[in-house]
């Protein structure tokens, strides 16, 4: 019984995370091949990859609060995979924009990045995730030591940048970007709460 449980929470969960990570890209590819990405396929690719990037950022940021709140330590080994899937989808998202939407028109792309706040925000998110993806290996983790933890707090900035990107590009119906923003705020808020709780309970513990 104990062995089965650990299989589900170990290898089983690893397979599940991988399948959920690959499925959206696989479905997009499938839809693309049979020409069912809708009337505006480039827009469909942009929106879908953007959605999934933000979803995986939130999933990665949810690992620590879930572990702390519910003791779900078995999630921790999958945080890196979730983060790398977020990076995978942000690359597809940016690649679609640069290569398909604007067809490598660098002057327009540069103008967008500097002049259009929502694109500035989105690009900031990408820049935050780049060093995290590069230093996601155990080797880099060892080499950077304590600074690795500090560097990887950029994930918070990436999450905020992604949500702001979505909020700022939306025309009128803010419901969907607000759902992401509220989830992100909850995840970052629990971190602040943990920090505050730790600070206030420490003296009490030393007394006993």
């Amino acid at each position: 019984m104990a062995r089965r449980k650990s299989w589900w929470r170990g290898t089983g969960l690893r397979i599940a995370v991988f399948v959920v990570g690959v499925a959206p890209a696989g479905l997009l590819l499938l839809d693309g091949l049979r020409g069912s990405l809708g009337a505006n396929p480039i827009e469909t690719l942009q929106h879908t990859t953007g959605d999934w990037s933000l979803r995986f950022v939130l999933a990665a940021l949810a690992v620590t609060p879930l572990r702390r709140l519910f003791g779900w330590g078995f999630l921790a080994p999958h945080r890196r995979t979730l983060g790398l899937f977020a990076f995978f989808y942000v690359c597809l998202h940016l690649g679609t924009y640069v290569g398909l939407d604007l067809f490598f028109d660098w002057s327009v792309i540069a103008e967008d990045i500097f002049k259009r706040p929502y694109i500035t925000a989105g690009f900031t998110g990408f820049l935050c995730m780049l060093p995290l993806a590069i230093t996601s290996t155990r080797g880099w983790q060892r080499r950077l030591g304590r600074r690795w933890v500090q560097l990887h707090r950029l994930a918070y900035v990436a999450g905020i940048a992604g949500s702001v990107h979505y909020l700022w590009l939306t025309k009128a119906d803010l419901l969907s970007p607000l759902v992401y923003t509220v989830i992100l705020a909850t995840l970052l808020g629990t971190r602040l709460w943990f920090r505050y709780a730790r600070r206030t309970t420490r003296p009490a513990r030393s007394l006993s």
């Binding site: 959920v20 069912s36 809708g38 505006n40 827009e43 929106h47 939407d101 025309k171 419901l175």
Partner: protein, 324 residues
């Protein structure tokens, strides 16, 4: 009497798995895994284009005796499928696929339009009576959305000016205000206040009287599909698409400039005029180029959407950067 004393290691009877459940445990695991997998796939599939049954031209009543128009472009029109599956009609939801999915709930027959304000002969008129005296024309127009995509659509309609003249506008009529049906029971998008319902639009009287401006009742030789604004919508081809209000129930001629929905919603982003203008960017994106649906590379956007010859002099002397 037997009194059982529980020791710490004892199992509470409530914790013992029911035998039936125990025997079906593999089944349970399998269905749980399947449900989880299915949910993940459903979530993954949802954002991509809907694969629901598409509307076919044969599903709609044919319009006959159409007169071709010299105002038509000879560019090749977008497919019926593109035109009817990729729509902005927030009354049925804010995703492009939502109108095709949800507009079937709209009841378009019977339909009447109220014509009021600065006219000698105001009244509520049934749609058939509104259209009866006029010949239906086919007008193949470019449509440029404010979101920087465009299509070419073979509309069927009547010049708005011809219709308005029947009601004899007074000399005080300076503007025309239009209103869409407000019926949340049929238009599910109206159940949330995404915009200040009902949708309202307006034109200056000379814009309304321009021969390019039509009230459309069909496309591709058939009556309008609901997702395209059935049964009666405005088409102003030199303005961004949001000016071309759909499912019209009210036309009022006014002395003052009427409030218009997108302008009320975001005045910095959507002006009253909303003429297609590559020189004036939307605050959040460029309007210099557009993606014609069905094409890969973006193409340059033309001033007044390519209709400058017919309409530019309506705005002679006006600062179009200020009056965007």
């Amino acid at each position: 009497m037997l009194i059982r004393v529980r020791r710490p290691g004892d199992i509470d009877p409530r914790e013992i798995t029911d035998e039936g459940l125990y025997l079906r445990r593999r089944e349970f695991l399998r269905s749980a895994a399947l449900a989880g997998g299915a949910a993940a796939f459903a979530a993954a599939g949802a954002p991509t284009a809907s694969r629901a049954a598409r509307l076919a031209p044969g599903d709609l009543a044919a319009l006959t005796g159409l007169v071709p128009s010299p105002f038509s472009t000879d560019e090749s029109p977008n497919s019926f499928e593109d035109v009817t599956s990729y729509n902005n009609f927030y009354e049925f939801g804010t995703d492009k696929e939502d109108p095709a999915r949800h507009a079937h709930t709209l009841v378009t027959d019977p339909w009447s339009v109220s014509i009021r304000g600065e006219v000698e002969r105001p009244g509520e008129i049934a749609l058939e009576d509104l259209l009866k005296p006029h010949a239906l024309e086919e007008r193949v127009y470019r449509l440029r959305c404010v979101e920087a995509w465009s299509m070419v659509i073979p509309w069927v309609g009547i010049p708005l000016g011809d219709i308005l003249r029947r009601f004899e506008p007074t000399s005080h009529a300076k503007y025309v205000a239009f209103r869409t049906l407000y019926k949340p029971s049929q238009m599910r998008g109206q159940r949330r206040r995404v915009l200040d319902w009902p949708y309202r639009e307006g034109l200056r009287i000379d814009e309304a009287m321009n021969p390019l401006t039509i009230l459309a009742v069909g496309l591709y030789g058939r009556v309008l599909p609901s997702q395209n604004g059935a049964p009666l919508r405005l088409i102003v081809p030199w303005k961004y698409g949001f000016k071309s209000i759909k499912s019209i129930v009210s036309i009022e001629l006014t002395r003052r400039r009427p409030a218009t929905s997108w302008n009320v919603s975001a005045p910095r982003e959507y002006g009253f005029y909303a003429n297609v203008n590559p020189e004036v960017d939307h605050p959040r994106w460029s309007q210099k180029r557009e993606r014609r649906i069905g094409e890969f590379r973006r193409r340059p956007t033309l001033p007044f959407n390519g209709y400058a010859e017919s309409v530019a002099d309506l705005y002679a002397g006006m600062n179009l950067r200020k009056n965007f």
